[in-house]
């Protein structure tokens, strides 16, 4: 008798419930790019069904598909049978890592985080800390996240300038990575980092933690390691939620579209807040072909940008083609990771400006754009 894997106890029924209809194929960004059925959710579930029948083990052969998923959840939203693909993959990857099978990039990511406070192993603090309150008392804490701090530093800088201009009483903290992404790729949130982070937020006395990163927001609000935030009465909001209650006395005549980050949209249900803000400043707002719950992933999530960079850029290019197709001058989004990937994917001939909502608002306020 075969020894069942751990994941089967919790998710075996759900994996069997995949009726292999293939509807996920229509929405999977990696399938859309590669047209390789082993990579979409149906392919993954078929492989796990074979594992459950004992026809194969959770071995190295599976890394190519089971560790190649942006976690965008398009498949889940469109699955007629209600298969929770992202949860299943998280659990299966955890078990694979425990038995010594993982994509080397994710093993490396875990190792870097063991000795660093950010996923890039950067040692210098971000420059935007200079001249700003850090680890001080304030009503709000602004948390940039690793991408915002070390890869999209300019976007974080202008977001902070906007908060400065609005007179928001905020402080920054010496950030440590929330490590939420590790759970997605088979590892665990680093408890000591979470403790440090919660302690630093609580020390500011802030009632609200504003995150620039949708994934950090999800981590803070859904992982047990961060329960200390809610216990201390700290409310966690994303910058898009914070800005949606504000008014800005500027408008642009440019054609603006909005890219829903998967972590903010499908994972957190935040679709309308950014659109409320954009609606006030951009009368010529247009939706791309895929938006809201059907938005197309930019290809950055789930570690795919690091593990499969060519596919990641390919997915971002598909998204930019949609922006071009609706005649957009500006692609706004509310995730530094999306901005980073879309910007990297932009071709020289594409005249799109790709930026975050707060950065665009500030540029309007400062008169950089046509108002």
């Amino acid at each position: 008798m075969r020894q069942a894997y751990e994941f089967e106890k919790t998710y075996g029924e759900l994996i069997l419930r995949c009726s292999v209809c293939g509807f996920c194929q229509a929405v999977c960004p990696i399938y859309g790019l590669t047209r390789r059925p082993a990579l979409n959710a149906r392919g993954k579930m078929l492989l796990l069904q074979e594992v459950m029948r004992g026809e194969m083990g959770l071995d190295q052969d599976l890394v190519e598909t089971l560790f190649q998923c942006t976690g965008c959840a398009s498949c889940e939203v469109n699955c007629p049978s209600g298969v929770k693909v992202t949860e299943i993959l998280r659990e299966v990857r955890r078990e694979m890592v425990n038995t010594g099978t993982c994509h080397p990039v994710f093993t490396g990511m875990n190792e870097i985080l063991a000795g660093s406070n950010n996923i890039y192993g950067e040692t210098d603090p971000p420059e935007y800390l200079e001249g700003r309150k850090v680890n001080e008392k304030a009503a709000y804490v602004y948390f940039a996240g690793c991408v915002g701090a070390y890869r999209e530093e300019e976007h974080t800088e202008v977001t902070l300038k906007l908060l400065d201009r609005m007179g928001v009483d905020y402080t920054l903290i010496d950030e440590v990575c929330c490590t939420g992404v590790l759970e997605d790729v088979g590892y665990a949130v680093h408890g000591s980092k979470a403790e440090t982070l919660v302690e630093r937020v609580r020390a500011t006395g802030a009632e609200t933690l504003i995150t620039g990163c949708p994934y950090c927001m999800r981590t803070f609000t859904s992982r047990n390691a961060y329960i200390g935030l809610s216990e201390a009465g700290v409310r966690v909001v994303h910058i898009s939620q914070f800005l949606s209650t504000m008014t800005f006395d500027v408008q642009t005549d440019l054609v603006v579209t909005y890219h829903d980050p998967c972590d903010l949209g499908r994972h957190a249900g935040i679709y309308e807040e950014p659109r409320r803000t954009i609606g006030r400043i951009a009368p010529r707002f247009v939706e791309m072909e895929h938006h809201h719950a059907q938005s197309l992933c930019c290809g950055a999530g789930g570690g795919v940008r690091a593990s499969h960079p060519a596919h990641s850029i390919g997915m971002a290019r598909r998204r930019l083609e949609e922006a071009e197709a609706v005649g957009a001058d500006v692609v706004l989004t509310d995730c530094n990771s999306c901005v980073h990937n879309l910007s990297n994917a932009k071709l020289r001939r594409q005249k799109l400006r790709i930026t975050t909502v707060p950065a665009f608002i500030l540029s309007l306020l400062e008169g950089e754009e046509r108002a």
Binding site: S19, G22, A26, V27, A38, G43, M56, T65, P80, S81
Partner: protein
Amino acid sequence: MLEERIKQELKDIVGPENFTEARIDMVSYAYDAMGAKGRPDCAVWVTSTDQVSAIMQLATREKIPVTPRAAGTGIAGMAVPTHGGIVMDVMRMNRILEINVEDRVCVVEPGVVYVDLQKALAPHGFTLPTEPGSSVASAIGGNVATNAGGLKGAKYGTTKDYVLGLVVVLPDGRVMKTGTRTMKTSSGYNLTQLFVGSEGTLGIITEITLKVVPLARRTATALGLFDSLEDAGRAVTRTMSSGVVPSVMEVMGRYLIQAINEGTDLQLPEVNTMLLVETEGYTRAEADAQMERVVEIFKDNGASDVKRAETEAERADLWAARKSTYPVTARLNNSILVEDVTVPMSKLAELFREFEKVVAQYDLKVAMCAHAGDGNFHPLITFDSRDPEMVERVEKANDALFRMAIAMGGTITGEHGIGTMKAKYMTMEHGEIAMDVMRTIKRALDPHNIMNPGKMDLNG
């Protein structure tokens, strides 16, 4: 197992990036959307007719089975490589080559997904109206190879009614053009239609010329509530012989209605049977006039109520109910079998009634649904695939259904095709002579039986 030299030749033809023998790919190509299984030795993603031709020449020379595959959304096993060999995935041939509304045609490669073609046609005010249930994922090549149908069959027919011409690579690698791009032709054997519904057993379709039709400008939608299936069946028959041809006429049975109410917040009235009906017109008045006649007929035939959708939101709700059929039913157990027997429309109520007895006899949970306007019955049988005794009861009920459909002058498949799953019923439906002719055609074009072997009971 294929020899290394053959694999190398395949890589030389399609490029190494379009060849795979990775285990993850072999598993994903072992199945279609019903889970039928047969593992290939390798797979290729083809990108041109020339590549397909070169591969078929190689396959003929080496006598290697080739199974063409598009989106893999078929549910009868036709894309499953039961004899191993090469899976030929056409999904990277996904260009819309031409849309020409003056000629009322479009030309596409086989890997174009149905909804993508619809999106491209819509700005021209045209459509391919077949609308299969898998429209979001299924590809035109597969639609043609299975002669797929859908919700609008009563008014618009099935895929065969729109295929004007094809480019087909024959098993020996020759590239054949069939048909025309004209609205009519009386020229020679209708080779185009020979390949429509041939399930990849005669060749590989690499280009398709389709007739397109104008999009309906206005629609009227209503839901008829009936206390008995017989009344609903009679209402369908009377409607379809009244001179009005609804574009949609969908039956939903009691167990399905309950499942929808349990699985959604649509709060449908829990009646015995519902009929969702839609009429179309160039003007609102035209659609409404037809619907008024349908409502009259429904009421004359025992409808306890008929709810007209007065707003787009109400119409969307009615469609949400119909479209939730598969999702709500699929969640009732770990497996689902969807059949598609089709009978003369006057027999549909009888088929419903008789099949309900079968369902009771084998103690199964079945959601009854049908494209009633064209006699196409879709029972959705939910079951536990790990319970061999239950699986056996499902098979027996299915067998009874096929026999009933054939006895009523119907067919075992209206729109899903034969594949492996219904192959054993081919002779029962078609008879020995027709099967002999089909096998003769198969042998003439594919003497080595390398072209999607093991399907449609063509191999004797």
